[in-house]
Symmetry: D2
C-alpha cells in the first residue's frame, strides 16, 4: 500500500513526534480496528481506549501535542501530529488527541487556575479520564442549536455556590466522562463556565441516541441539569466571560477535527487506491478505468487542499488571532472536501466499500456527521457573507 | 406535515391501489419504524416483517402490484404503487414489494413453469417466504463484481441433476430465505439459472458483513456453494439462457429500487420540511433562511425529476423493450438525485439529522448503498458511453 | 453524425410539423450558421433573418406553432416543435419561434382586441416584424431587476391618452423592433400594458451593451421613455391588470426558452459526440477514454431530464394552470442542466470547443445568459422555498 | 470597494514589488479596460499594449519578475507579483508578465546561449516584442492535441541548417510576434526546438479563429510551416532534448496562468461583492440574501484555496523539481476553482454580469478557455491517476 506524503513541515520537533505517532497508529492501533469491544451505538468502549493508551504511553506518543511542561505545541505543529494520529479512527483515542478532550485540555490549559488544572486537567493530560463540554441545547426547546445567543440554561449564585438548571444535547462523551465543562447564562445575561466532577446525580442522562457516526466513546447524550450546585471556585475564569472562553476553544477545536478527519480520509484513500490497483474489472485494473482513476486523482487534489487550508488556518491561530473567519473557511472547505474524498473511496470500492471490512465505510459516516458538528456548513457561510459585507462597509468609510 | 403530490397518473386502477398503499404505509407502517425488533446488523427481523404483512393482507395491500390472476401491473402502474409503498423504509417489506423478492417474483412470473410457480413463486406472492438471487461474486476471487462475464461459479450436468460449485457475495436476504435463484456457468460457457429450496447445507453462509444500509432482512451474505445438487426440473428456462433471464429481471428490478427509494426520499423531504418550518434559528424559521430554503427547493426539483425519469423508463419497459439503456440512465439519474435529496435532508435537520430520531439518517445510509448496488454509477455511464459510440457508428454506415 | 431521438409524442399533428421543422433547420438553416451577416455585438442582422424566413415560408415551417386559425398549439405540442426549431441558434429566428416575439405573440393572441391583433399581431405572425417587451428596469436606479414590485416606470392618463415615463433595460430586440409592449405603473399603483409602434422618438435607445450571448437581433437595449403618449385604445386589456398579463406570458415564455435552448444543446451534444468518436488521443478514440465518454453519458441523462421536465411543465400549462411553481422548477432544472451539457461539449472538444468553428462555443455563451434571464436560478429557488412554507402552513390549518 | 488580502509572503523584496504592481494595475491599467483599441477578435491591439508598457516602465513595474541581472525571482515570489499583475485582464500585458511571453522568457533565460539571449530574449524582457511557442498541432490532422507523442511536424538537417515542415494550431500570439520557438521531430524521433525571427514567409498564418477568450494579442493562430530554414545556431540547446525543454517551461508556464487568472478572479469577486452590497432586491441588500451571500462566501474559500495551491506548487518548483505532478494538481484545482468563482460573480450580478460593463463577463470567458489550455482538466487527472498507480507499484516492490 502506498502512503500519501504531506508537505507540512512546521518544525523538526513536530516532524519527529509526528513520525512516531504515525508508526504507532499504523503498527499498533490499526490492528485494534477489528477489536469487537464497542457499545451498542458502535462506539469504542473505554476499556478498549485505555488498553490502547497503555501502548501509547509506552511508545511515548500519549497526548503528544502537549509538551512536558504543560505547554501546547503551536497549532501548525499540532496539525501535523493530529493528522497522523487520525490515520485510524481509533488513533486519536489511543493517542489522547480526540475531541472533546483535546479542546477541553486546550481550554483548561489556557484559562484554568493551578488548583483547577491539578484537579481537572491533570487526569485528562495523563489519559486517565474523559471529559465533556456542555454547551449545545436541544432544538425542540428552541434552545441554542447553532445559535449560541439562544442559550436557555441558567446559573444563579446562591451563597458560595452557583446553581445550574437547563437541558443540553449532543454532549459528546458525557456518558462516562469524569470532567465536565458546563456553560450557562447568569441573571445579568452574561455567560459563565463551570468545571464539574462527573457523574453527578444533578446531571441526568436522558437519552443517548444512535447516530450515524461511531467513533466517540459515550456518543452524544442529551442531559437534564437539575439544580446542579457548583462551588464558586469551580467557575472557569470570570463570570460573564463564558462566550469569550468558548471562542478561545472554538477555532482550535474546530480545526483539530479537520486535522483528525483528514488523517482518516488519507487512510481511506490509501485503502481505496490499493483496492483499485489490485482488483480487475472488464479486463484491466480498476484504476486503469478513468472513471475510477479520476476519482483517485481528485482525492489527491482534495487531500492536498485540505492539508494546505489546515496549515494556513493554524498559522493564523499561531499569530494569536482568534481566527474566527479563517477557521470558518477551513471548516467548510475541509469538511466538504473530506466528504467528497470519503464518498469517492466508498464508490471506488463498490460493494466492499459499503461494508465494515475496511474503515472506509465508517469514515464516510463520520465525515457526514462532521459536516454538521462545530457549525454546519451553512452557518459558516452565513458568517463569511457577513464578513464580506462588514469589510465592504469599512472600505466605504 | 405537508405531503408531496406526484404527477404520475398511469391508470385509475393504479391510482386507487396506490392511494390505499399510501394510507396503509402512513397510518400502519410508520409507527413500526420505532419497533426495536432488528438483528445485530440493524435489519428488521422476519417476525416484524410477517406481523406487518398480516396488517397489509387485512388492508388489501399485500403484493399490490401483482393482480389476482397472477399477472403484473404495467411498469408505469407499478411505479406509482411502489413509490407509495416506499414512504417508509419498512413499507416495501410490509407490502411485499421489496427487493429482491419483487424482482424474483417478476422473473418467476415470466419464466417459470407452472410446477415451478406452484412450488417457488406462490409462497412469495402470498408474502409467506423470502427469496434470494445468487449472482454477484466476490472481488477477492477476481469474480464477477460488476462484470458478469467474469462469473466463476460452475454447473455441470450429472445424470438428472446439475452440480453447482462457487462463491457468491452480497446475496441480499440469503440468510433466512426459503427460495433461491442461483446463476452458474456451464462447461460450454453458457449461463444457467436454478431454483433451489433453502436452506440447503450445500449453500454455506460464510459471512454476513455489517453494511451501511439496514433495511433488508438477512442483510447481504457471502456464501460458498459446495457441490449443490439440483434436479434438472429446477432449472429455470433453458440452459445457456441465464444471462438472457438476468436481463429480463435486470431493468425492472433496477427501476423498482428507484421507485421505493424515491418514496423514502419524499418522506425524508417531508420530515425535513416540517423541521425547517417549525424550528427557529437566528430570529426566524429555518426555512426562511435561503441557505435552508434553497435546499428544500432543490429537493422539489430533484424529486420531480426522479419521478419523471422513473415514469419514462417504466413506459419504455411497458413497450416490451429490455430498456437496458433507459434503465441505466434512470438508475444513475435517480440514485444520484436521491443521494442529493437525502444529504440535504440530513443537513437541514442539523444535529437531529444524524440521529435515528427520524428515518432521515437511515434513508441517507440506504441511498448511499443504492448508488452501488444494481450497478455503480460508473458502470452505467460506461455502458451509456458505449451506446453513444455504437449509435455514431451505425449513423456512419 | 448520430441524432438524439426525443421521447415526446404529444400528437400526430405536432410530430408531423416537428419533423418538417427539424429537416428545415438541419438542411437549410445550419448552413447559414457560417453566414457573416452579424452586427457588431455578433447578433444576426435582420437582413439575414428575413432571408431565412423566406425559405421557412416556402417550406411551410414559418411560425409553425400557431395554426391557420390563429390559435396556438398546446404547450406540449409547442415543446416538440420549438425544441426542433432550436437545433440551430438561427433556427428559431428562421422559423419565427424566437423570444421575445414568440411570447409576445402568445400574449397578444390571448389578450389583444381584434383591432390590436390586426395592427400589432398580424405582422409578427407573418414573420415580417420584430417586437420587444419593455418590463425590466435598471439596477443602478434601484429599479425592478428581478423584483417587479420595484417598478419605477409610470403611466398617467391625460385625456384620451396615457403618458409614460421611465427607464427600461435588457430590452431584447428593442433596437429594430416594430412592435413594443410597455409596462408601467399607474398612479393608483396598478400596472398597465401598452402596445406601441416602434421606433418612436419618445423611446430613446441609450445603450446596447455587448453581452456574452449573441443570438438575438437587436441585442438587449437600455432605453429611456420620455413622455411617450399612447392612445387609450392601445392599452392591452384593463388598467391595473398589467401584472396579471405578465403572468399569462411569463410561464410559457420562460418554458419556450427551455425548449429552444434544449434544441441547441442537443445539437451541441451531437457535434461533441461526433468529435469524440472521430478524434484519436493517446492511442484510442477520445470517446473510449472514460473521462470523455462519461461526459457524453451524463449529457444523455441531462438531455432526457430536460426533455421530461419541459413536457411535464407544458402539460401543467395545458390544464389552464398559470404554472408558476412548475415553470420555476423547470426553468431552474433545465437551464442548469443545459449549462452542464454545454460545458461538457466545450470540454470534450478541447481547443476546438472554445473556437467558433462549431456552434458549441456560442451555445455555451447563450446558456450562460439563459441562467439569468427570465429569473435567475436563485429567484426561482426563493419562490419555491416560499411555496414549501406555504404548503406546510396550509397543511397545519 | 473592499480588497481581498492575500496571505502570501515569500520575501520582503517580492512584497515590495507586488505592492507597486498592484498600485499600478489598479490606478493606471484599470482605466484602460474601457479603451476601445481591440482587434476584431476582441483582443487588445499592440498599440494599446505598448502604450501601457510605457507607463509600466516609468512606474518601475515592467517585467517585474525578472531582476536587473537577468535572473528570475523564485516561483513563490513570482506568484505574488503575477497575481497582482492579473488584477486586470490588461495588467499582465502592461507589466509584461503575460503568456506566452512570460514562459518563453523563462525558457530562454534557462536554456538559450548568450548570443541567442541577446538576439531573442532581450527585446522580450524589455517589453518591445512579443513571442509565440509553436508546439500544439491540429486535431483534424490527428496531430498532437493534448498528446505530444503524436507530433507530426518534422525537422531535418540540411547542411548548416534545419528544414522544418508541419502545421501548428492554437499558437497564441503568432500573429504579430517577432520571436518564435518552434518544436519539431527529427528523423531519429527526438524533438528539437528552434528560435526563429518572425514574421517569416515560410510560416504562413492560415487562420485566426474567433475564440471565447479575448485577452491575448494575436489570438490563437493556426499556421503552416512550409520548408522553414533555420540556421543550426538557432537550435535551442541540444537536438533530441526538445521534450525536456518543453518540460522545463511547462510547469512554471502552467502555474503562471493560475497566478494571473487568480488575480482577475479576485478582482471579479471584488466587483461582484461591491454590487451585492450596494444593490437592493426584495427589500434588502442583495448580499443579505443568503443565496447571494453564500456565493460570495464560497468565493472567499475558493480564492484562498487557489492561492494556497499556487504557493505550494511554486515552493515545489523552487526546490528544483520539475513539479509535473504538483503543477497538474494545481492546474486542475485552480482552474476549476476560478471557473466557479467567475461563474458566481456573473450570477451575483444578474443581467449586469453578462454585459461588458464590468470585466466579470470577460473573466468568465477567459477562465472557460483556461480550463482547456495547458492541458484540459481530464488530461491532468489521467496523469495523476497514473501516478497513483506508479506509487502503488513502487510500494509493492
Amino acid at each position: 500500500m502506498s502512503r500519501i506524503e504531506l508537505s507540512l513541515n512546521p518544525s523538526p520537533r513536530a516532524v519527529a513526534i509526528a513520525d512516531r505517532v504515525e508508526s504507532f497508529v499504523r503498527d499498533v492501533v490499526v490492528p485494534y480496528e477489528r477489536d469487537p469491544r464497542r457499545d451498542h451505538h458502535g462506539a469504542p468502549l473505554d476499556e478498549l481506549v485505555y488498553e490502547m493508551r497503555e501502548h501509547a504511553r509506552a511508545a511515548g506518543v500519549l497526548t503528544p501535542h502537549i509538551l512536558a511542561d504543560g505547554s501546547h505545541m503551536t497549532q501548525r505543529e499540532t496539525a501535523l501530529v493530529l493528522i497522523k494520529s487520525g490515520l485510524s479512527p481509533l488513533g486519536p483515542l489511543a493517542c489522547n488527541t480526540m475531541a472533546p478532550d483535546e479542546g477541553n485540555m486546550y481550554l483548561l490549559g489556557h484559562k484554568a487556575t493551578e488548583e483547577q488544572k491539578d484537579h481537572f486537567l491533570k487526569p485528562l493530560v495523563e489519559g486517565r479520564a474523559r471529559s465533556a463540554f456542555f454547551m449545545t441545547e436541544p432544538s425542540d426547546d428552541n434552545g441554542a442549536g447553532s445559535d449560541p445567543s439562544m442559550m436557555l440554561t441558567t446559573c444563579r449564585q446562591d451563597g458560595n455556590h452557583w446553581v445550574i438548571n437547563g437541558r443540553k444535547t449532543f454532549i459528546t462523551g458525557a456518558d462516562g466522562a469524569s470532567v465536565g465543562i458546563v456553560m450557562a447564562k447568569a441573571e445579568d445575561g452574561g455567560a459563565c463556565m463551570f468545571l464539574v466532577d462527573l457523574p453527578d446525580p444533578a446531571i441526568r442522562i436522558d437519552d443517548v441516541p444512535n447516530t450515524i457516526d461511531s467513533s466517540m466513546p459515550g456518543s452524544h447524550a442529551t442531559v437534564t441539569i437539575d439544580n446542579l450546585r457548583v462551588p464558586a471556585s469551580q467557575m472557569l475564569g470570570e463570570p460573564g466571560d463564558g462566550f469569550k472562553y468558548a471562542q478561545v476553544r472554538l477555532s482550535p477545536a474546530r480545526l483539530s477535527h479537520c486535522m483528525r478527519w483528514l488523517g482518516c480520509c488519507i487512510r481511506a484513500h490509501e485503502i481505496a487506491s490499493d483496492y483499485a490497483c489490485r482488483r480487475m474489472a472488464f479486463g484491466k485494473a480498476l484504476i486503469e478505468h478513468e472513471g475510477v482513476g479520476f476519482m483517485l486523482a481528485e482525492n489527491l487534489i482534495d487531500i492536498k487542499q485540505a492539508e494546505l487550508m489546515i496549515d494556513w488556518c493554524a498559522g493564523v491561530l499561531d499569530t494569536g488571532s482568534l481566527g474566527t473567519t479563517e477557521s470558518s473557511m477551513a471548516k467548510v472547505a475541509v469538511s466538504e472536501a473530506l466528504m467528497r474524498i470519503a464518498d469517492r473511496c466508498v464508490q471506488v470500492m463498490g460493494g466492499t466499500g459499503v461494508t465494515d471490512k475496511t474503515i472506509v465505510e465508517q469514515v464516510f459516516r463520520e465525515v457526514r456527521a462532521f459536516r454538521i458538528y462545530d457549525g454546519p456548513t451553512e452557518v459558516h457561510k452565513w458568517s463569511l457573507a457577513k464578513k464580506v459585507r462588514r469589510d465592504w462597509r469599512e472600505a466605504q468609510a
